[in-house]
């Protein structure tokens, strides 16, 4: 009897799976109640039809972008809950007291924090912005493969659901956000935690690779006529280079996670201590993907800031070619530096020296970009709306992150501070001050283009200042603690170390950031409440320079009635200065738009089932899920009727209606 039960349910049995630890159980109950109440509300207001038709099966790149950002914000709250737990633990778990959590729970919390913040918040915000903005900036109606774009988003969402299921059923990985073997091997992490981590990242990672292909082809093939590469907006340039990096390195993540999973499930010896495995190869491969990944996150943020600074300074971007070359140089060098993550593993001095030098070289193009932004502001009329306030915070804090990065690039110095809180403070400096501030500025800047009204300025600036000061108080002490010999990931430390006061200050800093996040949530709520007063009537609220501001806000689903012809850089600004329209009504012709498709939700649902089945070793369910995925791909691929036409008259009618909406 027992073998049949094991065949059907694998290792899954409900009683064991429910978390025993009080805090995780509390979190699990909280999530379940939250989820049930949302489902209840939607059923109560009978919105399932609306959601299915307009959101679950949409292929509109703008709606998909909005869904990415919603998932990212929800995951930001989850990740920030982990921050509060870590700060409380490290502020109280001193000497005799064990703090609030056991070591195992604490290790699950920081593993989840790292994984969620990088894969679901930063990647989510980034792809959200990319989805919304890129087609509009290059004058296209949609991405190259709309159905694949839907699949990519829903795979990303399936990965997010899988990682959060680990809180309800089973446990999460306790081996850090990059789970080095042999700790993440089956011998030292026998639970399902690491499997949840692997398969959440595999599902989301495959979605990201598909997005890389999709946006690369979009930018290559679907630019408006006349928009040569060197006439593209700089944000689209950063996305083009980022997508080239995505397709060059994400398959390494897929391969490495696959091998680690084979080690755990099939008893293979890729990275095991004995059996002919070589754990150093895992560290090498995961960072060959890892370092380009953090540059994949930061380049779109740089691109967004370039567009923002140019618009708010009412000036051309300073040194456009130099900025493009700086982007390319950063992307090139980011692929030959990965060893600085394991200088201390013991490679030869010539190897360490080479990778140390290539790491320093990246600081040069990054510095160039900062000077170019400052000179863009020089001799301009700079208006300090909240995106610019985020930019000022970025300049002050990111430069410190750059300096500590150059310090960490020197191998002999890195031997001292590797895996210490100094390193933790450095990478938070570059990720929060760089990626998060840049993407927050981008979301505020392009918000009206998607929703039709601007965000509340006051609360936006308050949130920015709270993030800056909170950041200084949260990570200043961490730099000092790192120099005092405090390593990362400590769930307990001795009284004699004298670290507690600094951890208390760090806790205070985290609280400030918390208030900043509350301001951001308030900002959205209040902006929605009095959206009537902040309507963006002209479609060009910030006196923009690039094509996305040429269409009304919120942008119609077909974006441009006729594809604009572009003659120069900052196409929309030129059109405004020379008063030449980007397109004439006579150019409007019948257009083909892709139909909504449920392929994204179907494949992602099945991917979640396969992931869950593999985690709990339910073999038959994994096989059935995989076959179902293949069948649904075949059904979709052999379906020829995937687009519909909109006639010229319908377009003209819609355009007229847009104009009347604001002039009347």
């Amino acid at each position: 009897m027992d073998s049949i039960k094991h065949f059907i349910f694998g290792d899954f049995n409900l009683v064991d799976a429910i978390p025993k630890e009080m805090v995780t159980l509390g979190g699990a109950i909280g999530i379940t109640l939250g989820l049930l109440s949302i489902l209840g509300l939607v059923t109560y207001f009978k919105k399932w039809g609306y959601l299915w038709k307009n959101w679950f099966t949409t292929i509109d790149h703008k709606k998909i972008g909005v869904m990415y950002i919603i998932v990212a914000v929800v995951m930001l709250l989850r990740g920030f809950a982990d921050v509060i737990m870590m700060r409380l633990q490290q502020a109280t778990s001193v000497g005799s007291s064990q703090g609030l959590f056991t070591a195992d729970t604490f290790q699950q919390v920081f593993s989840a924090h790292g994984t969620i913040m990088i894969f679901f918040v930063a990647m989510g915000l980034m792809f959200g912005l990319i989805n919304i903005v890129v087609p509009l900036q290059i004058g296209a109606r949609d991405v190259a493969f709309p159905a694949v774009n839907a699949i990519s988003f829903w795979l990303f969402a399936a990965g997010m659901v899988l990682i959060n299921t680990s809180m309800l059923l089973g446990e999460f990985s306790a081996a850090g956000w990059l789970a080095y073997p042999p700790l993440s091997g089956i011998e030292f992490s026998p639970g399902v935690g690491v499997d949840y981590w692997i398969w959440a990242l595999q599902v989301a990672g495959i979605g990201t690779t598909l997005s890389g292909v999709n946006f690369l082809v979009t930018i290559m093939k679907m630019r408006a006529p006349g928009m040569k590469l060197m006439k593209m907006p700089i944000f689209t340039w950063s996305v083009l280079i980022t997508m080239v990096m995505v397709i060059s390195v994400f398959p390494i993540l897929t391969g490495t996670l696959g091998m680690l999973s084979l080690d755990r499930l099939m008893g293979m010896h890729f990275f095991t201590a004995g059996g002919g495995g070589n754990m150093m190869m895992y560290v090498n491969l995961i960072w060959a993907w890892g370092h380009p990944e953090v540059y994949i996150l930061v380049l779109p943020a740089f691109g967004a800031l370039s567009d923002i600074v140019a618009t708010y300074s009412r000036k051309k971007l300073f040194g456009y070619p130099s900025m493009v070359w700086a982007l390319a140089a950063i992307a090139f060098f980011s692929m030959i530096v990965w060893l600085h993550h394991f200088f201390t593993m013991g490679a030869g001095s010539e190897v360490n020296a080479f990778f140390g030098i290539t790491t320093m070289i990246i600081a040069i193009p990054t510095g160039v970009k900062i000077f170019n932004w400052l000179f863009t502001m020089a001799r301009g009329r700079v208006r300090f709306d909240s995106p610019m306030v985020w930019f000022i915070g970025f300049v002050f804090l990111f430069t410190v992150g750059g300096m500590t990065g150059v310090m960490l690039a020197v191998p002999a110095l890195d031997y001292q501070v590797h895996n210490s809180l100094f390193l933790v403070a450095h990478f938070h400096n570059t990720i929060i001050a760089g990626v998060v501030f840049g993407l927050f500025a981008g979301v505020t800047y392009w918000f009206p283009k998607v929703f039709g009204f601007t965000l509340h300025e006051g609360l936006g600036k308050a949130a920015a200042w709270l993030w800056f000061i909170g950041f200084a108080f949260a990570f200043g002490p961490l730099y000092v603690l790192g120099l005092m010999g405090a390593t990362r990931r400590l769930d307990h430390y001795a009284e004699s170390t004298g670290w507690q006061p600094l951890f208390l200050v760090a806790g205070f800093g985290a609280a400030l950031i918390g208030v900043g996040i509350v301001c951001q949530l308030l900002q959205v709520v209040i902006s929605i409440k009095n959206r009537k007063k902040n309507l963006d009537k002209t479609g060009d609220p910030w006196n923009g320079r690039t094509l996305e501001w040429a269409v009304p806000s919120p942008a119609p689903f077909y974006n441009f009635p006729a594809i604009p012809n572009v003659t120069s850089r900052d196409a929309f600004w030129q059109a405004k200065q020379t008063k030449t329209p980007l397109w004439r009504d006579s150019d409007i012709v019948d257009i083909h738009m892709p139909k909504n498709t449920s392929i994204g939700v179907v494949i992602a649902g099945l991917a979640f089932v396969v992931g869950f089945a593999i985690v709990w070793h339910i073999v038959w369910l994994a096989v059935v899920g995989l076959v179902a995925i293949i069948v649904s791909v075949i059904v979709r691929a052999t379906n020829d009727d995937t687009s519909y036409t909109i006639t010229r008259e319908e377009l003209l009618a819609m355009e007229k209606e847009h104009k009347q909406r604001y002039t009347a």
């Binding site: 292909v213 390195v249 091998m259 002919g276 075949i634």
Partner: protein
């Protein structure tokens, strides 16, 4: 049958699939890099020289090469609009690919029956994974041929079918290129013993 022309949308799909193939290249690259690092860790188990019989693998390689040729001719027949010839060459490709896959499974069976498996050593883990990943791609390709034979038989050579056939031929030729390096690095260098 009239000559079917490739539209701009089709060109975009072909380029998109080509770039997907590039990502697959990098995936195989990471498996090759791991094989290169682990192939000497036999951990007391058999090495390449003990396991591989070159003539057997040569037949496999020639089968796959021929199936790549027949897939190419199938595309030419499709461009010329010859429905029966397309189905004929596709079935030939299917049979050649299937026999390649069967030979590979037989080779795995032999290794398993002599008491070794992917759990024996790092070398065998990376060998099985690298060759089996290629085998999995071949299986997907065979399913794809099956679907295409049915679609062409049912609808003839429509624009959609031609595009899908051309994508399939890209995929099949790409798998043959990957097999060249598996044949060289895994089998030939395994027998040389470097």
């Amino acid at each position: 049958m009239s000559q079917v022309k490739i539209s701009t949308a089709d060109n975009r799909t072909l380029l998109g699939f080509w770039i997907y193939l590039m990502t697959d290249c990098v995936l195989f690259g990471s498996l090759f890099a791991t094989y290169a690092v682990l192939h000497q860790n036999t951990f007391g188990g058999p090495s390449g020289q003990d396991l591989f019989e070159l003539p057997y693998v040569l037949v496999e390689t020639l089968l796959l090469l021929t199936s790549s040729f027949t897939a190419g001719v199938a595309i030419l027949a499709a461009k010329a609009g010859r429905k029966k010839q397309v189905i004929g060459w596709l079935v030939a490709t299917l049979l050649l690919g299937l026999s390649f896959l069967v030979m590979e499974i037989v080779e795995f069976q032999e290794i398993l029956s002599s008491g070794y498996s992917w759990e024996t050593s790092g070398f065998l883990s990376s060998f099985f994974t690298l060759v089996a990943t290629h085998g999995a791609h071949i299986t997907i390709g065979l399913i794809w041929i099956g679907v295409m034979v049915w679609r062409v038989w049912k609808l003839g050579i429509t624009q959609g079918n031609l595009r899908r056939l051309m994508i399939f031929s890209l995929f099949w030729h790409f798998l043959d290129v990957v097999w060249i390096f598996i044949f060289t690095i895994v089998y030939l260098m395994g027998v040389i013993g470097i």
